[in-house]
């Protein structure tokens, strides 16, 4: 039934926009949002002003201002999508049928409404690829500043490698380098090789996603530890 009541109209517009997951009381969603807000708050009150022992915090490479885009890249990533739809929004809670009781009868809008933003993953990916060189540039800078390789630089290196692997193993990359063609033999021989190579990486996309995310935080904590003077910076090769 269509009503002309203006109040209901705005309600309808709202519900057409906001995914149903956010319109219901769910401690998981609440906790998740709280954690993000807390994270942003902490970064604001404890900002990293300058490099520490030549190391630039990965969250600030090249500038903290791009963080929202990187965040969106990760939020719209197919691997994370699986995880947060399952474990935060509980759609579904598990593949086993017996554990499904909780999702039954709940409203569900999937990746429609605001979650249509998932479809822009490709654009965030372009951006993420563009800033990849900065991670390596930071390593170069650190080596020059320190005149050798320190533990922090090794950590930055590992972090850069995982970020790169994660970014390049993305499903959107997979689509662009080969997934979008049905005929490799029509002068796209190279693309076929790229595609099958990338597919091997892509199979581990979810693992890479989590490793690289964890690395980000570990490296950040390490550098903050150096700044606070509670962690040592060990020179490995002079």
């Amino acid at each position: 039934m269509i009503s002309n009541d203006p109040k209901q109209k705005t309600n309808r517009a709202m519900t057409r926009l906001i995914p149903s997951e956010f319109l219901e009381l769910n401690w998981r969603v609440g906790t998740f949002i709280l954690m993000i807000v807390l994270g942003i708050y902490l970064m604001m009150i404890y900002p990293m002003t300058d490099q520490v022992n030549g190391l630039i915090d990965p969250f600030y490479s090249p500038t903290v201002l791009i963080l929202p885009f990187i965040g969106l890249f990760r939020l719209t990533c197919y691997a994370y999508r699986k995880d947060y739809h399952r474990h935060i929004f509980n759609h579904p809670r598990a593949c086993e049928i017996g554990f499904r009781a909780e999702t039954k009868g709940r409203e569900y809008t999937g990746e429609t409404r605001l979650f249509r933003i998932e479809n822009l993953h490709r654009w965030f990916m372009y951006f993420a690829v563009l800033i990849l060189p900065f991670f390596f540039y930071d390593i170069y800078l650190a080596i020059v500043t320190e005149g050798g390789i320190t533990l922090g630089i090794v950590l930055l290196g590992i972090n850069a490698i995982f970020v790169t692997l994660y970014t390049l193993s993305c499903h959107a990359v997979r689509h662009l380098i080969g997934g979008n063609t049905d005929c490799f033999s029509c002068k796209h021989n190279v693309r076929q090789k790229l595609f099958s190579g990338q597919t091997k990486m892509n199979l581990h996309h979810e693992t890479l996603a989590w490793i690289s995310l964890t690395m980000f935080f570990l490296v950040d904590l390490y550098i903050r530890g150096l700044q606070a003077g509670v962690l040592p910076n060990i020179m490995l090769i002079h």
Binding site: Y78, R81, K82, H85, R86, F89, H91, P92, C95, E96, I97, G98, F99, R100, T103, K104, G105, R106, E107, Y108, T109, G110, E111, T112, F115, R116, N119, L120, H121, R122, W123, H171, A172, R174, H175, G179, N180, D182, C183, F184, S185, Q192, N202, L203
Partner: protein
């Protein structure tokens, strides 16, 4: 003494009974037996009125789909020694029940009818030539035996009412879209009519597929990306249009 296993089989004729219940049967264990062997033993020797659906008994036809201890599986492909000696077998919950373990999967044919059939390009010389590497991608989807376990496990199909066609049907569309000589693009209709956006890629379908098809990674995400080409990425659309033009000129 001969070894026995216990089967708890769901019994209900919805035209007569409001509620179903599990009925317990004891079946002699045979080395290497699968759940279907045990269920058939019940149907043939203990209670011939038990409704079951099976056909090839070789995991090639996809008839004997059921939920074994709460997981959607093929009865013919589930060895008893992998699920223990006390087994609960229930019908697929995503489809209307006909009787006991048999469900009405007819809605799937209605959906399949909505997916445009294979539409070859018109500029082809006969006999057609294709390269093996181009055939491989679509071939994965052609392994599908239409057991509909993916439809059964999919929470969108099972628990919600949406326009989403379901994993099997995205696989079907992908099998034709990725045919090197097909000229249709089914991602548009999947997105607009088939509710592709309702899939939140939680990958249960991929987990239960008895043919080990990478449903989510290779079919659904690929179709979603193609839909992005069509609706969310003007750049990709422009390139694509130029290519189609080139081809039609050639």
């Amino acid at each position: 003494m001969e070894e026995k296993i216990i089967l708890n089989i769901y019994r209900q004729d919805p035209s007569i009974e409001q509620k179903g219940q599990l009925q317990k049967f004891e079946v002699p264990y045979v080395d290497g037996m699968v759940v279907l062997d045990a269920v058939r033993y019940v149907q043939e020797k203990l209670d011939t009125t038990l409704a079951i659906r099976w056909n090839c008994k070789a995991a090639k036809c996809g008839s004997c789909s059921a939920e074994i201890n709460g997981m959607p599986r093929l009865m013919c492909k589930t060895r008893v020694d992998t699920v223990g000696h006390n087994i609960t077998v229930t019908p697929m919950g995503a489809f209307p029940l006909i009787k006991d373990l048999v469900t009405d999967v007819g809605e799937n044919w209605e959906i399949l009818r909505k997916i445009p059939k294979f539409t070859p390009r018109e500029d082809m010389e006969s006999p057609w030539k294709m390269q093996q590497m181009d055939v491989e991608r679509s071939k994965e989807f052609r392994k599908c035996i239409e057991c509909f376990l993916c439809q059964d496990v999919c929470h969108v199909i099972r628990e919600h009412s949406t326009p989403y066609f379901g994993p099997r049907h995205v696989v079907k569309a992908a099998s034709m879209d990725m045919h090197p000589l097909d000229s249709e693009d089914r991602s548009r209709m999947l997105d607009q009519v088939g509710g592709l956006g309702f899939c939140n890629i939680t990958k249960c379908c991929q987990d239960v597929c008895p043919e080990h098809i990478h449903i989510t990674d290779n079919a659904i995400i690929q179709e979603k990306e193609r839909a992005v080409d069509n609706f969310y990425d003007p750049l990709a659309r422009l390139i694509k249009r130029k290519k189609t033009k080139e081809r039609s000129v050639a």
